[in-house]
Amino acid sequence: MKAHKKRLRLLSVLFLFLVVGFYLSMTKGSVETSFANLLDFLIHSDQTHAKIFIQLRLSRALLAFLVGASLSLSGAILQGYFQNPMAGPFVVGVSSGSSFGAVLALFLGLNFSLFGFSLQSVFAFASGLAIVSLVYLLSQKKGIFKVETLLLTGIAAGALASSLTSFLIFFKSESFEQAVFWLLGSFQLAEWTQIRVVFLYLIFSFFLSQWYAKDMNLLILGDETAQSLGCPVSRVRKIFLAVSTLLAASSVSVSGIIGFVGLIVPHWTRMLIGPDHRYLFAYSSLTGGIFLMYCDLLARTFLPGSELPIGIITAIVGAPFFIYLLNQQK
């Protein structure tokens, strides 16, 4: 049971990182606080510390964790789905589609909320879903579905959505700074309502993908083989596509576009525990959540008194590490 041991070891390491990450997220920030302050607050809470610990730090750490987990799960699903290591929420056009919706809402000046979600988020979600449905329909010919076509259509549609976004930003240059924060992602304004919604989507998607994880393993063998082994291929494919879109769009709609996580985290995880989707989904989610939590910690503490868009951190930290891992494997 070598694989089993490997997973157990990874799980304990991840757990350690999770605990340390939460501890650091709670104690580090522009206002200096120590463990003693935290304990003191937990025993007899005061207003100011309650806001800093619960409303600002805990909500950010949790939202970063949930979004990291969602993006990574989405990436793990898409990579298995396309049997292509290049796949990720960016590649199929979800992220670009969602950001287009968000910037469009900004452009139209729509700023009220609906069911605890700002209209901007609703727009992001709807347009992300619309782009993927479009891509999905376009890449289907006479009921036959081609992975290559879907990937290429996804890239094209994504590029179209990105350029439309740039067009809007160019025209409405007053909201430029806001748009930049959206395009590079930020957890600065994390709210508890967002956490609740992202959490619900993540749990739902996680159980659904876990349920079909065995079928995903079969899909790797090719659609025909999978079909002959009793996997309802077309239904499974539709479900996975919908789930991965839901995950990516809900993430983008609360935090803007955060690149790289959905691409690299499933890779790391696969390198560490192997390609079995029954474990890959869960481990990718956990690793992605922890990774993004640390990235957000850096984003808000790296330059005191100012915020870095988190997309910058994920790429700076992620890319070299990813290249290193790839080299190790050779």
């Binding site: 522009s30 730090r57 700023n111 901007q120 709210e191 008194g305 100012s306 915020e307």
Partner: protein, 302 residues
Amino acid sequence: MNWYKVFALLLTLLQLTAIAGGQERIITDDLGYPHVLKNPPQRIVSLAPNITEILFALGLEKKIVGVTRYCDYPQQAQKKERIGGMVDPDLEKVISLQPDLVIAFRGNPLRLIRRLKELQLSVFVLEQGTSLESVFSLIEKIGLITYKEKRAISLVDDLNTDYKRVLKLLTSVKHVPKVYINIHGKGLWTCGRDSFLNDLVKKAKGLNIAGEMPRSWLAYNLEEIIHQNPEYIIVITQSQKDFAEIKEWFVQEAHLESTQAVREENIHYLDEDLITRPGPRIFRAFEQLSRILHPTLFGNLR
């Protein structure tokens, strides 16, 4: 003692308790949020440089506890605690300062304003308005919420007197020169119809060559400048040094040789902070611009 004396006494007592308890008054801010006026604010955070300038002009220096990293005027503002930028303020820092009034401006994202309200901070949001005169109401509103109404009114009076004098001089202008305004450094960014700057140029009796464009800010093109042939080029920059560089570019640009502004070297500098912040200093910028466009008019004034 007759009944009516007792009644008068009671009434006075009643009034005294009302004053001691702090009379509440509810007004709304420019986004329509209600704002309760209860006690004069003692700890104010400003989320924009023009707000900071107005607060200082109203003599509230001691009440300001936090400003943005862009708030550099007056000098004393630089000594105040920094809370980050207009788009990315550090929320922890804001809360730790325990402000009883946060004044936001339209450059602050609305999501941010909503978040600040959720954190139970007393936030008052102000809109920029589209004309030069809206600075007056800005000052008056800030005076109202900080209990400096009288000071605000006298500040507005002073500014208005100077402003009116310039306007009066400008009434005798016969020739309205064409102007090209250059902002954001190199790259031909300019201001269109909907901008605050366009209104300023119009009031200074100038004709903004991009003033027909239905936007606030836009990238203009070289051909259009040549075609419009402006008599003045106004370069708005952070410093004289940046200005010298950009002026050099305009002078060197061979295609612009034919325009009157370049031929006569009518290329002038305006301080970006002065002219882009809707605060008390904007009227100084207005006078500067009027002087540039109509040099003979102001010959014997100051």
